[in-house]
């Protein structure tokens, strides 16, 4: 397939794909077409769009997000568990998520780009910073919500502090902790969209570089980002149910109620 470069140049075509639509066409048809068929970039120099590029970008998007959430969990979970276990610094543990919400993600990323430079590491740090507050707060609250009777009973059985934390408080706080992880993951996947500002290729690339991808690319990428975020939320919702100990499943309502009827039915049958 495709002409050798010389012939292609002679035929007047650049890259091996059809030309894109005329600039300025803002409609969903073009956006969907961008996802499924590659076409020439605005300058006509390279091919953009199509399943190949979308999948590459999506994989990079998810890998970066996954690393960031993992780093966030690695930091926030132990701190939250410990603070919850000793029951101190409540103000810090609960207000950190308010502070996190007040800092616009674009401003945070811009701050990193301007002062520390571009690159994957900085993007992961920004996204991890975004993931920490909800996980920390939820872990703290989850541990504090554990009935004091259960902790007393465990202590009466001769369990040490660490055993109580691991065998009583952690399992009982799991649903709330996972709700925090879910909130964090959704925020991270959503924010990874602006990672191209720091030269990291994600599904945000067509959105940030319209000079090359045109409005159709922006809209197409926006559709894929929205779908991936909703899927992340739905999958972690299922995981949240799975990690909740059966004993408290019926009693404790899930902290974040997101019901997608189709997925919920699936969840109940499995």
């Amino acid at each position: 397939m495709g002409f050798p470069p010389v012939l292609a140049a002679a035929a007047g075509g650049g890259p091996d794909c059809p030309p894109g639509p005329k600039a300025g066409a803002i409609d969903f048809g073009e956006a969907v077409d961008f996802i499924f068929n590659k076409r020439q970039s605005v300058g006509g120099t390279v091919c953009v769009g199509g399943p190949g590029e979308i999948v590459d970008l999506a994989v990079n998007h998810l890998v970066i997000s996954f690393i960031a959430v993992a780093v966030g969990i690695a930091i926030a979970l132990p701190v939250g568990l410990w603070l919850g276990h000793i029951g101190r610094f409540e103000f810090i543990a609960t207000s950190i998520s308010n502070v996190g919400r007040a800092v616009p993600t674009l401003a945070l990323l811009a701050f990193f780009v301007a002062f520390l430079g571009k690159g994957e590491l900085n993007v992961i740090v920004v996204l991890a910073l975004l993931a920490i507050p909800p996980i920390l707060t939820n872990t703290y609250v989850g541990v504090r919500q554990v009935s004091p009777d259960a902790v007393d009973a465990a202590r009466g059985q001769g369990m040490t502090g660490l055993q109580i934390l691991r065998q009583v408080e952690l399992p009982l706080a799991m649903a709330t902790i996972f709700a925090g992880i879910r909130t964090a993951a959704v925020a991270v996947v959503a924010t990874a969209t602006i990672a191209p500002l720091a030269n990291v290729e994600t599904l945000g690339t067509p959105i940030i570089v319209p000079q090359q991808y045109a409005i159709a690319g922006q809209l197409g990428a926006a559709i894929v980002v929205a779908v991936i975020t909703l899927l992340t939320d739905a999958l972690l919702g299922l995981a949240q149910r799975a990690v909740t100990p059966r004993g408290i499943r019926a009693v404790t309502p899930t902290p974040r109620i997101v019901r997608i009827p189709f997925l919920q039915r699936r969840a109940q049958t499995t």
């Binding site: 919400r101 674009l106 780009v113 959503a190 975020t229």
Partner: protein, 246 residues
């Protein structure tokens, strides 16, 4: 080594001149108080746009969430569907929402406001309904015993008692909206985000330290100040809460 040493005096002289004119700081991408002082006016209208987007969106969102909350208060079964729908909408990344509304509503602040209003609904609705449900049943019974109608109970008993939760919801909605509105420029609505991001905004874009500090700082400051205003309002309106038995 030697050629570099040769040009050193010239380079030093240039650095000296730049320092005196204040240009060097900008060219070397330092943090430049002089530049900030001279260019502060560039941030005034984006800040006003940002304030406009935030408060119009929260105001419209509040009216809609209020109507939904009253509906859900009267007909309890509607609570689940309302939360499910607003939560699903809340999950969609704001940048995607701003873009996906473009084919329907076009570039401009209307598009941005529609998306921002949708984002406030979940927060405001959840707090409104929590506030209304937390009113003690005895209080409502007492009001009914005094002969108040349902409407009177809602406006004179339930809503006043729900004010703390309602204002807490407004505070969260405002700070969240300030953050989300930094991406509203993708819908062509301007705001502080455009100053942070765009090379064309006359502020040097995302890599220029002074610009990022001012534009980003203003966004954080706006969130903090609005939060403080509503916190004061909350304390002002709920003095009865603190005046409880000693």
């Amino acid at each position: 080594m030697t050629p570099a040493l040769g040009v050193l005096p010239a380079v030093l002289a240039q650095v000296e001149i730049r320092k005196r004119t204040g240009q060097g700081c900008v060219q070397e991408n330092g943090f430049c108080p002089d530049w900030i002082a001279n260019n502060l006016d560039k941030y005034v209208s984006p800040l006003l746009e940002h304030i406009y987007l935030t408060f119009v969106s929260v105001a419209i969102g509040f009216v809609i969430a209020f109507a939904l909350a009253i509906l859900a208060h009267r007909h309890r079964w509607t609570t689940g569907p309302i939360i499910a729908i607003t939560a699903a909408a809340f999950t969609i990344p704001s940048i995607a929402a701003f873009l996906l509304l473009l084919p329907i509503t076009g570039f401009g602040s209307t598009t941005a406001i529609i998306a921002l209003v949708v984002y406030t609904l979940l927060i405001l609705f959840r707090n409104l309904i929590t506030g209304l449900r937390n009113v003690p049943a005895e209080t409502v019974d007492a009001a009914r015993g005094m002969g108040l109608t349902d409407r009177q109970i809602l406006w004179q008993v339930e809503l006043p008692l729900a004010v703390p939760e309602i204002l807490a919801g407004i505070r969260i909605a405002v700070t969240t909206t300030v953050g989300l509105a930094t991406l509203a420029f993708f819908a062509g609505a301007g705001g502080l985000g455009e100053q942070i991001y765009s090379e064309n905004a006359g502020t040097g874009g995302i890599e220029f330290k002074s610009n990022v500090v001012v534009a980003g700082g203003l966004a954080v400051l706006l969130a903090a100040v609005s939060d403080l205003i509503f916190l004061s309002l909350q304390r002002l309106l709920t003095g009865w809460q603190r005046a409880s038995a000693p």
